[in-house]
Amino acid sequence: MMLELDKLSAHYGAVEVFSDVSLRIGAGEKVALLGRNGAGKTTLVQALFNLGPRLSGTIRLQGEAVQDWPTHRIARRGMALVPQGRGLFPTLSVSENLRLATLRQPRGAWTLEKIFETFPRLAERRHASSSALSGGERQLLAIGRALLTQAPLLVLDEASEGLAPMMAEEIIVQHVGKLAEAGLTVLLAEQNAALALRLCPRALVLAGRRLVFDGPSEALLADRSLLQEHLGV
């Protein structure tokens, strides 16, 4: 099992963000995490990396309980993040942003050159400051950086946010799709349900602080009332 959450709950002070979230994601799966704005998707993603509020429950990453580990150890265990807002370092160049991911991680299939081959647009701009990139290029850089950690599990948080529809489609369905075909496990926390479900055959829906749906995307798409009530689609 790549990732297992068991009765995971998160609180900011007395405010409960979500509770009793249990799920399992197998190696090579593509899973969409859906929910309205403010449903707790980002908090759940942060919780996976121990970057958010205090937690109770267990998070197992490749069999190891990691919920109390510092973030860098969780990352080394095999989970990479493409954060909301991209989380690029504006005072660093494109290639410095990428090389940062290679410093403390084991060598693996991904190299700087392979990233530039996969995303040629980044190669052209390797010496530019990351703040000079276009929205699409920034997202590719964030993905490239996450890949360079060699982690088998890629978590993307609001990857389509701020992108033109065509660009979001290209990045999520084509690029991430290709990576998943090559064996990467993908957890896609996404506001744009229609887009996420085109990539992911399995969906999770977070609503009212609970996981209200966990099943095949087709079943979710067939359930009009659930879509309407929790996703507003």
């Binding site: 510092p70 954060p83 989380g87 940062l100 991680q105």
Partner: protein, 290 residues
């Protein structure tokens, strides 16, 4: 007249070089770790005392500077482990109380260990004496401070701007959490940066001993000037700290020349005016505001 002005410019430059090294140490801890270290002046004074004793010992004189750097860096490393690390996430006021308290303890310890008199180092022969500029004498040692201080600042700039280690530090300034998701242990990074900061304080003290001597109370004097340098420059901006070290160095030196009775009043009023005009400092940092 020409010669007198040139001498004062060099005096200001040597003072600025000291402020720059001390200020950079303080600045990097403040901007990276969001930590206010009011014990930074203690590192400076410790470095001065180490240099005075080293230069009197007969050991190779030039080693006084690396020794002062390493010894204060080591002191910084111990202090970082306990108790400073536990205060990184605390509000600034708590950090201020803790580090001010520590600086008082260190002042007492140093007075007990090194005495209360003013100690001037015995300068090595090759740095003694004066050079003549426009027929005016200028101490050779101050030229050494200018050269060593600005060379060290250049080395630091290269470290932060041109190395991968520097890139990690710059990345952690903008988002520590994301740096962690790349597998990098930022707690160790912070400890290393704090050691560097303490070492820089000690190194500037060792360099400065030949100009300002070493005595109880100098730690607080240096601290306030370093704080002003950092704040006037704009937090977290390397270029801003260089610029403001020059501004503060020249302001204090020339106000002593022009208004000797009101030197501090003139210099500090100029700084208050500057901060009112540019609240974010001379060079506003491109990233987060502290």
């Amino acid at each position: 007249m020409m010669g007198y002005a040139a001498i004062q410019v060099l005096n200001a430059l040597s003072f600025s070089a000291l402020l720059l090294l001390t200020g950079l140490g303080l600045s990097v801890v403040l901007s990276l770790m969001n930590f206010v270290n009011l014990a930074h002046g203690s590192f400076y004074l410790l470095g001065s005392y180490i240099a005075v004793h080293w230069l009197a010992s007969g050991a190779p004189w030039w080693m006084a500077f690396p020794v002062a750097f390493l010894a204060t860096a080591l002191a910084g490393a111990l202090l970082e482990r306990f108790p400073l690390r536990a205060f990184y996430a605390r509000p600034h006021l708590m950090q201020v109380l803790l580090t001010y308290g520590l600086s008082v303890i260190f002042a007492d310890l140093m007075r007990w260990g090194f005495g209360a008199q003013i100690l001037s180092p015995e300068l090595p022969e090759m740095l003694q004496g004066v050079v003549f500029l426009f027929d005016m004498p200028f101490p050779l040692y101050r030229l050494f401070i200018i050269g060593a201080g600005f060379a060290m600042a250049l080395a630091l700039w290269l470290l932060f701007d041109r190395t991968m280690w520097g890139a990690v530090v710059r990345a952690a300034v903008s988002d520590r959490g994301i740096v962690e998701t790349l597998g990098i242990d930022t707690r160790r990074l912070f400890a290393a940066v704090f050691m560097l900061s303490a070492g820089l304080g000690g190194l500037s003290g060792a360099l400065g001993a030949g100009m300002l001597a070493a005595y109880p109370g100098l730690d607080e004097e240096v601290l306030i000037l370093a704080l002003i340098t950092v704040v006037v420059g704009g937090l977290g901006s390397f270029g801003g700290t260089v610029l403001s070290a020059l501004v503060v160095g020249f302001a204090l030196t020339f106000s002593k020349v022009w208004f000797p009775e009101f030197a501090n009043l003139a210099a500090f009023s100029a700084m208050i005016a500057l901060l009112l005009a540019r609240p974010n400092g001379l060079v506003a940092p491109p990233l987060r505001q502290l």
